[in-house]
Amino acid sequence: MRSRSELKNYKKEQYDFRIRLATGGLLVLICFGILISRFVFLQFSKYDYFQTMAENNRISLVPIVPNRGLIMDRNGVVLAQNSFVYTLEITPAKVEKSVEETIDELAKLIEITSNDRKRLKKLRSQTHSFESVPIRTHLNEEEAAKIAVHRFRFPGVEIRSRLFRQYPQGELGSHLIGYIGRINDRDLEHLKESGDLSNYKGSDHIGKSGLEQYYESQLHGITGFQQVETDAGGHAVRTLSSTPPVPGNNLILSIDSKLQRIAEEAFGNYRGALVAIEPSTGEVLAYVSKPNFDPNLFVDGIDSESWKELNESLDKPLINRPLRGIYPPGSTFKPFVALAGLEAGKRAPPFSISDPGFFTLPGNTHRYRDWKAGGHGMVDIRKAIAVSCDTFFYGLAVELGIEKLTDFVRHFGFGKPSGIDLKGEMGGLLPTPEWKARRFKQKWFPGETVIVGIGQGYTLVTPMQLAQATAILANNGRAMQPHLVSSIQENKEGRIHPVPLVVSDQIVLNPKNVELIKQGMMDVTLPGGTAARLGADAEYLMASKTGTAQVVGIKQNEKYNESKMAERHLDHALFITYAPAEDPKIAIAVIVENGKHGGSTAGPIARRVMDYYLLGKEPKPTQPAVEPPSAVIEQAPEEHGHDE
């Protein structure tokens, strides 16, 4: 009995258990069914989606930055190049401790100056925390090795070997070569607008001024790309495909760096500008802005101390004077006024005046003085240029009228940018009654026409314009577009593409009239001329004009006393010239700020340039063309801001 009931219980228990077990089995099947449907969803329905995700995960495009093109002078002397340099860089986002602490630690290994720190601080404020920024550049081998040994202690800190822009000639031609700097938000905006942003993936630098800026698209090159397979850590595992970068093109300048150096050194301690042009081609041979600066400072972010020094200096070294320095042309304007007169049928010889030393407008007693008290006696147009007779030009200007005068000289490039291959060129100013009405809401007074005749008043020119006008005159009215880059060399195959010469204007002039003006200019450096001393020992004939531009106005009847004036209030000295006069090879405009007399300060600088260019004569080393100015500093003349 008992065993039977036990057996029955056992059977019942086993039956119940099997029901439960079957329920468990059902659970297994249901759950596995769920898994299978999930597999179908992931691996079948959404396969394409996940396939793409996996590819995006593993493949990334790595930009390969092209080598920037070189800048060379007309003889192949390198003015801007790239060199491999070790840099110590930090990615703030990857640093475990604070950036400051890390740098304190690093400073125990290698020298990190307070300037380096300041520069880093500035760079960090301009970049994202996941971007690598340099702490120090130009590490030497020993420093690089020291850091490499201790690298494990500094997560986020790396030694990189990077191509660095370098300006081997230092300050030489700094304003024309310009510099590159790190791409900032404003540059990114411009790149976005021009659609070039994708070409700058991986690029840290962009041309900021000078030729580096103007020819950015030529110099930069085309960024290459590498399709690489990366692991989860972002490290490249292997290269799948690659498009090599196209290196930037080289610029070959019309500048002669030797000539440039001679011109720069000729200035000594003077501030000023010089532009030398080959009249027949428009090629710029020398382009000087003094004082200059070292463009190497800017390449990886200038430290604030150097920046302050450059930016706040009374000498304004960052101003690109040939293009952005605007000065009254003074008497250098006279040959062009004279030509305007001749072309208008006025003042043709034998016309001459008897100069009493002043000029008065009819019905007015105001005396417009000549620079030479007592006057120059009998003056015809040729003599008027040679002795720079103010009285002659006062009258001529009045007779021509302001409109006729400005319309004519505008052909020589005054009042508008020359179009040279640099950015930021100023147009200067040719005043007209409309301009004055617009600008000051005032009517034009006849007296204002009088002083325009001698290049004073509202008239303003840049050294570039003055040089170009001289070149046009030397070239008998044929205006060649001035340019600094004479040819562009493809970096890939070395093919050279010359920049075509462009005739920007052909002024119709009577050759007899031109010849008369040129005669007058030749007389300037001959006995009796305003710069007779300059031409005394010259081996070639030059055609020139001296000029003096007032910095502050001098009141009527007040005697000009130069010894009393602070050095910065002294007149600017101007000089334009071309030579050889019979077959012009070079046309030059020089402005020496506060240099007093064109003939004695600006002239000798031009002379040195011509001596070297035409005769190969080199000046004795370390001897400026003119004596340095006395070091009295009061206040700088009003200048125009640097665009950085």
């Binding site: 228990e13 439960r20 468990g24 089995g25 659970l27 759950c31 999930r38 691996q43 996996a54 995960n57």
Partner: protein, 364 residues
């Protein structure tokens, strides 16, 4: 003579179960080789683990179930005492206190409970009359709650859930009333908010991320997203052995352990997944058959629990890798790298074999 010796050697080995296990383990070695970045070291060390685990399985298979019944209580008591010791003196690693130093060796007492827990409950219900009362289930639940609670505190959510499941299966198979089950489900529904508040922050995060892994794609959701990408990009036939980009390029985290299934799914695709599930189904099916044919209450409850617990491991792991369950840190049984879980698992299968091959002794 040799033949007879061999026969004696395999007397307690179940051929069907053994075949399925070996097939699965061979698959496991292939996947591990790929997942470890073709590391021979890892492969060798896992082969050693397998050898040790198979030997222990053989020993377990040769121990009659009655002996197990006898050691059930002491094993449980020792296990719980060790868990208490862990809570007091355990070594902390990765923010959890799971290990205990005993002389030279480190042990993880929670592993012992994986076997001892269902053994104890099977022993407890076998001692009762066939009609167990409410009180028995209550006692069973308390016996279960002690180690589960201790392990949850370590914290080790995955293991405590698995041990909880193994105990629950015994209760369920022993005849826990359906009404009570329903009641439990309802009360869990009510308790859920309270349980939620008791969870650790990282555990909560894991559950939150489960529902929306893209909430934190580079942090907590990273595992789930990368695993889904791996599986999904595997497609129908997979990218081929050693060719999974997600696995070979380090995108998959924990790819030799908890997330090894993603490696498998990426390289062998939907077809491979179905094949692996088939292998698991064969093992589970055989386990259920063994349980159904077991003759004593103890052995059938134990066999049923071991089998269903194995299934739970599989489901929870694959579910978490394929993104339908939270990431709770449960390895894929037989496949994931690591000796401890393999030893415990194969000991369980040894017990199944023992139950199956010692049947006649029970009836006689």
């Amino acid at each position: 003579m040799m033949n007879k010796l061999l026969k004696h050697f395999v007397k307690h080995i179940d051929g069907f179960l053994m075949g399925s296990l070996i097939a699965t383990i061979l698959v496991a070695l292939c996947v591990l080789y790929s997942a470890s970045g073709q590391s021979m070291d890892k492969l060798t060390s896992q082969a050693v683990n397998i050898t040790v685990a198979l030997s222990l399985m053989w020993i377990a298979a040769n121990i009659p179930p009655q002996h197990l019944e006898r050691i059930a209580l002491p094993a449980y008591v020792i296990g719980v005492l060790l868990l208490i010791a862990v809570a007091l003196f355990g070594e902390i690693s990765h923010g959890a206190r799971r290990w205990l130093h005993i002389g030279v060796a480190k042990i993880q007492p929670s592993e012992l409970l994986k076997i001892a827990m269902p053994m104890l409950l099977a022993w407890y219900f076998a001692r009762r009359d066939s009609l167990s009362t409410m009180k028995d289930y209550l006692v069973g639940a308390i016996l279960l709650a002690v180690p589960v609670g201790l392990i949850m505190k370590q914290p080790d959510l995955g293991t405590s859930l698995m041990i909880g499941a193994s105990g629950f299966y015994v209760l369920f198979l022993a005849g826990l009333s359906w009404r009570l089950l329903l009641g439990a489900v309802v009360s869990v529904g009510i308790m859920a908010p309270i349980l939620w508040s008791m969870l650790h922050d990282y555990q909560r995060k894991r559950i939150e991320i489960l529902f929306d892994p893209y909430q934190d794609p580079l942090g907590a959701g990273y595992h789930t997203i990368q695993a889904s990408i791996a599986l999904g990009s595997g497609g129908l036939a997979g990218k081929g052995w050693l060719n999974g980009t997600q696995s070979q390029l380090d995108f998959l985290p924990e790819r030799t352990t908890d997330f090894i299934f993603a490696v498998f799914g990426e390289e062998f695709g939907l077809l491979g997944n179905l094949l692996l599930l088939l292998l698991f189904t064969l093992i589970i099916g055989r386990g259920l058959v063994i349980a159904a044919q077991a003759q004593s209450t103890f052995s059938r409850l134990l066999a049923g629990s071991i089998t269903l617990t194995f299934f739970t491991y599989v489901f929870v792991n694959i579910g978490m890798v394929s993104g339908i369950l939270p990431v709770v840190g449960v390895p894929l049984p037989l496949i994931s790298y690591g000796g401890t879980s393999l030893v415990t698992l194969l000991l369980g299968f040894g017990i199944l074999m023992s139950i199956h091959t010692h049947k006649k002794l029970v009836t006689s």
